[in-house]
Amino acid sequence: MLRATHVSKSFGATRAVDEVSIEIARGEILGVVGENGAGKTTLMRIAAGELPADSGTVEREGRVDLVHQHFMLVGELTIAENLALVDRARFRFSSRKTIEREAIAKIAESGIELADVSRRVADLSVGEKSKLELIKAISKKPATLVLDEPTSVLTPFEVEELFRVMRRLSSRGTAVVFISHKLPEVLAIAERIVVMRAGRVVEANATTAEELAQVMVGPIGPIGPIGRRGPIGPIGPMGVHFGEIVAIVGVAGNGQTELAAKLRDQLRDAGHIPEDRTRDGIVAEMTIAENLALRAKRWRKREAAGHAQQMIALYSIRANGPQQRAGDLSGGNQQKVILARELDRRPNIIIAAEPARGLDIEATRFVHEQLRAAASAGAAILLITSDLDEAFELADAIQVIYRGTLSDRMSPGEARPRVANLMAGIA
């Protein structure tokens, strides 16, 4: 159906795709997983014929259509007009009525719900826009349909709807490729999973979470020396898989602060929740809106106030409004502002240091819920904590830090009897 053999592609000095062979059968749902930059999108663009390969061959039977991560829609036109653009020649002299009738038919055929085709695309929600992209692609009747990170803007309900559509397509013989870095979703829908890392396929037939976990090396580290009475050499293996929480536990002052600072400088795009929230977390003199916008690309006062208002509601921050000084908030609410800033942009990696220290029960529970939700949405989370209860409650794996050195990775069960001794440096 679709077969790529020994395909390679370089951009400048980086080898985006390196000697990759991949085959997709009729009616198959294939998951392609890997970190950002692993080469998933480039490989599929080559397969779809959007990009020429430097070497290797691609054999296609029928159309291959790719639904991109970013929208390829004309905002000024209506839903119907955007769908008509797919085959422009046919609709050149059509009336609005015909165009809309055809659009409704196409939508019905795709099995996706999207009401009122006379709406301007610019007015649609992101979820609706991605639905429209999908309808557009399906209407071309491709033999193979490639979906690039389609769930990133969808609500859980919309994800379910998408999965139903994918299954329907596959039952009619269309091959569906699902590119994602969210393991739980891929496991839920794909019949076979291909794992890519650094431009290569490292596992072509994984079917279970365990198999995947073994091949996907975590996004964090090896880490260099971090000091604090620690060794001069590397501090040992450290890895967090996407979708899991790894806790680093230890008595305060054994290098946790240095580790977090090191990760902050090494992983600039990750979400960072600093240990000392009054010093490192918020700018007390600035407003909530300003604090939330510190990582934003643009700063428009009104827009930022609107966003802050949303965050205040979403993270149940107790505040008078977006213009309140962040320094006047209680500790728990300051922490919620930090969470909102760091988690709301859905980073792949989250480093949380003592995220619930000094918070009341309710706020603690809220913080823990947010971290769990981020993990189940596919983020890799490193939890640095001196609170063992917190570690055992949240973590999928535990490592102990003592004098700047990390212990092996342990499951919570293995860790329970050993943690105390490791923290004291006895074992």
Binding site: G281, A284, M286, K301
Partner: protein, 320 residues
């Protein structure tokens, strides 16, 4: 709004104290005040004098405000003012625009020396900028006594610069600079990050802000503003360079910026106020024989009052 009130109150108290001091020396406070007011805004001649003095103060005040906003203590306005003027003089034969551009570049380069020392050896810019002032003063002295001395070699000064601005031509430039700086600080994402860096560099760094880059940029912009002040003073007012060219404008900028609470738009008002004060003090010296140094005295009083206000504010917020 409360900050604005603080500034106004501080300015009023400063003037009142000067009047009282005059009374202690046997003058009538009312008479002193009327001389001060008449001498600064009482006639079109006085107003022109006030505006002339205000232009460099506006810009050096802006220079200090931008740096302080980013949390860097650039008190090297005097030196940046001087090298700005030197560069403006050298580039003046290429026209006004080139000359002022050279002034800004030179000011930025001069302040960036302090940035470089901070980045490489962690040298505090409070010290390095002030020491760079002395170097700039000596450099100017050497230039006007040596290679750049006037062709007739009579006085330690340069020839007339090759380009000139109308005497008040700098005023619109200075006001535009303040508005642009305000826009940059309060209406752009980078300005937001610059202010965050000034308030709390730790939190800024954790929020992904490149703190070093913010500091370097703020320092360069700050130096450019002071350099521009020097260039404008040369092209619009003195037309020549001489040893006492800077006349303390760089240092006065600190008072201007503090009275404006480091706000670029308030800097316009604050610069005009101090410009009026300096001009009025000149009149005091001429008619009442009171040293014009009272203007400097007023600057010091304003700063002290603002420090007291700041302490009161802090205690109100965090009662001990």
């Amino acid at each position: 709004m409360r900050r604005l009130a603080y500034g106004v109150v501080a300015a009023i108290i400063a003037i009142a104290l000067i009047a009282l001091a005059g009374a202690a020396l046997g003058h009538s406070p009312r008479q002193l005040l009327s001389i001060l007011v008449n001498g600064s805004i009482g006639s079109s001649f006085a107003i022109e004098g006030t505006l002339l003095k205000s232009v460099p103060l506006l810009l050096t005040g802006l220079s200090v405000a931008i740096a302080f906003r980013a949390g860097v203590w650039n008190i090297g306005g005097e030196g940046q003012f001087i090298v700005g003027a030197l560069a403006a003089f050298l580039a003046s034969r290429f026209g006004v625009v080139a000359s002022l551009a050279a002034a800004m570049l030179a000011g930025a380069a001069w302040s960036s020396i302090a940035t470089a020392m901070r980045m490489w050896r962690n040298a505090p810019e409070v010290l390095t900028t002030i020491l760079l002032n002395f170097i700039a003063i000596q450099l100017l002295g050497w230039c006007v006594n040596g290679p750049m001395q006037e062709s007739v070699r009579q006085y330690p000064q340069t020839d007339t610069a090759g380009a000139a601005l109308p005497s008040l031509g700098g005023l619109p430039i200075a006001i535009v600079a303040c508005v642009v700086a305000w826009w940059m600080l309060y209406r752009t994402a980078e300005g937001l990050r610059l202010r965050a860096t000034g308030f709390n560099p730790f939190a800024a760094r954790w929020a992904g802000v490149n703190v070093s880059a913010q500091i370097a940029r703020a320092m360069a912009i700050s130096g450019a503003a002071a350099g521009l002040a020097g260039g404008i003073e040369l092209l619009g007012v003195t037309h020549r360079l001489f040893e006492r060219f800077a006349a303390g404008y760089g240092y006065s900028g600190i008072a201007v910026a503090l009275l404006a609470n480091l706000h670029p738009l308030a800097t316009i008002l604050s610069g005009l106020f101090f410009g009026a004060l300096v001009t009025g003090a000149g009149e005091l010296q001429r008619t009442a024989n009171i040293s014009a140094a009272v203007a400097t005295l007023a600057q010091a009083i304003v700063i002290l009052i603002l420090i007291v206000f700041g302490a009161i504010e802090k205690r109100r917020r965090w009662p001990s």
